[in-house]
């Protein structure tokens, strides 16, 4: 592949028709969560999009984020986008190992200094000089600082890289930190989730490739296109919440009828992500559709915010009563519930409520 080819040129060279290109742009818009009216702008941008170098660093992580991305789809349209990036370093996926791998990273950094995209998954241990996770004898901390210096932008994939994630959970024995805790002065985008939704990862990368910029971010550094609404706001079970229809146990009539899982601990109202619309496994389903509440995995410190099966706190003991009231009283009451929930989250974080076997059994 010639490095100076644009994506438009490359697609035409591989025999894709103009209608095929239009379809590619339409599905790319859908993947980037942009409205179909953006298709002409995407087509124009893709015509001139250049091939970026990408360095992917995996730190203190479980490889779930890479699994999510690589198992996202059979080779499809977004495969064309990934054919177009130059993934110069990813120690799980690359064939080279040891010094040869590190040499590939150094060459990519040198040749593309100031222009490459850095992707990070996993948190970065800082305690005791960062000795708890090393690659080729280099601490994650030192490698991040070295590679970030010449990056055009950084994408933190997964809740670990974005906010510290599970390694950061109390008592955080390795001093795990997020990318933005360590790096400043670079554009950093967080694609949180444990793991993140594969189409959100590809959508964000497609946006960068297409427009050469990072999309608009929320106050936690996440792209608004995917993290602009709470799970609850976009949940297909929301109408049951408004009507006060809740599953009380995982096998009662409400559960069978697909009613709201709020009382069973669903963290949808305080969690911002795109699961309810993007869904998983090629848009097949998501946890709530499978009958389990959201655990809030795309939020900072989700592991320390109380039991997964404890309902978010509400102003009375009976969620149904207050929620019916909230539906009648409208936004003001809804906002009050939101404030209570945030307060509860903070209290839980401080108290570090642990999930017990009884919680998991629903006793």
């Amino acid at each position: 592949m010639k490095d100076d080819q644009t994506l438009g040129e490359r697609l035409r060279e591989s025999g894709i028709s103009r209608r095929g290109f239009l379809k590619f742009c339409a599905t790319t818009a859908s993947m980037m969560a942009l409205p179909p009216s953006m298709v002409p702008a995407i087509a124009a941008a893709l015509e001139t999009a250049r091939r970026p170098s990408v360095i992917w660093l995996s730190f203190q992580e479980c490889t779930g984020c890479t699994e999510s991305l690589t198992r996202s789809h059979a080779p499809t349209v977004e495969g064309l986008i990934f054919d177009h990036i130059s993934l110069d370093y990813h120690h799980t996926l690359q064939a080279a190992s040891g010094e040869a791998a590190e040499e590939a990273r150094r060459i990519a950094m040198e040749e593309n200094h100031g222009n490459y995209l850095l992707i990070v998954d996993g948190s970065i241990p800082q305690k005791d000089g960062g000795v708890y996770s090393t690659i080729a004898g280099i601490t994650n901390l030192a490698m991040l600082e070295e590679v970030a210096e010449g990056a055009a932008a950084i994408v933190a994939i997964g809740t670990c890289a974005a906010y510290g994630g599970l390694p950061h959970a109390n008592p955080n024995p390795t001093g795990a930190a997020s990318v933005s805790d360590i790096i400043s002065g670079k554009p950093i985008l967080n694609v949180s989730g444990c793991p993140p939704i594969p189409t959100v990862i590809t959508g964000v990368l497609a946006h960068y490739l297409t427009f050469g910029t990072l999309p608009e971010l929320d106050h936690l550094g996440r792209p608004k296109a995917f993290f602009g609404n709470s799970i609850h706001d976009r949940c297909y079970r929301r109408p049951f919440y408004e009507r006060g229809q809740f599953a009380e146990t995982f096998d009662d009539e409400g559960a069978r009828k697909g009613w709201c899982l709020f009382k069973l601990g669903c963290k949808g109202p305080t969690t911002y992500n795109a699961c309810a619309t993007e869904k998983w496994n090629q848009h097949t389903s998501f946890p709530i559709q499978a009958g389990h509440g959201c655990i809030g995995c795309s939020e900072p410190d989700f592991w320390d915010r109380g039991g997964f099966y404890d309902a978010l706190s509400v102003p009375t003991d009976d969620a149904g009563n207050i929620l019916l009231g909230a539906a009648v009283a409208g936004a003001a009451a809804g906002a009050a519930v939101g404030l209570m929930n945030r307060k509860k989250q903070n209290t839980d974080t401080r108290a570090h409520e642990k999930v017990t076997v009884d919680d998991l059994n629903g006793d």
Partner: protein, 144 residues
């Protein structure tokens, strides 16, 4: 409960029908407003269904309500795209599939003719060149 067959299973109608969530009606209203815009100003609208929170069965219910109209077409470009006019003229259901037949996106287009069906202008000049090339070839001369 010790055996798999002891678990009681109730099979529900998976063929669509009226959804309990009520999520279909707002989409129909959006289509109605887009149709009114198309009729009065000629402005087309496209609605990406993957951005809409649907319950299992909601999508089938929506398709059932829209029905199938007079026109259906298949575009073979980067996999199959099926374009069908619904029973409401001007409301089209467009389903993009990958070469592996995975659904990539489903859109409702409110327009006179979906853009993918129109011949791109650049293809016209390519077609003209190709036909000229054939007509000037010995094969064409012999058959004439």
């Amino acid at each position: 409960m010790s055996r798999l067959q002891d678990i009681p299973i109730q099979v529900l109608d998976g063929q669509g029908g009226q959804s309990e969530t009520g999520n279909v009606a707002p989409v129909l209203h959006e289509i109605r407003h887009a149709l009114a815009r198309l009729a009065s100003t000629g402005e087309s609208t496209s609605i990406d269904l993957s951005a809409i929170p649907f319950a299992p069965g909601d999508e089938a219910a929506l398709f059932g309500l829209l029905g199938q109209g007079e026109v259906s077409a298949v575009v073979n470009a980067l996999g199959e795209t099926r374009i069908e006019e619904t029973t409401y003229p001007g409301v089209w259901l467009v389903t993009h599939r990958s070469p592996q037949e995975t659904v990539l996106s489903t859109q409702i287009e409110i327009t006179r003719t979906p853009s993918l069906l129109s011949t791109p202008a650049e293809d016209l000049s390519d077609a003209l060149d190709a036909l000229d090339h054939y007509l000037s070839s010995p094969t064409a001369q012999e058959s004439a």
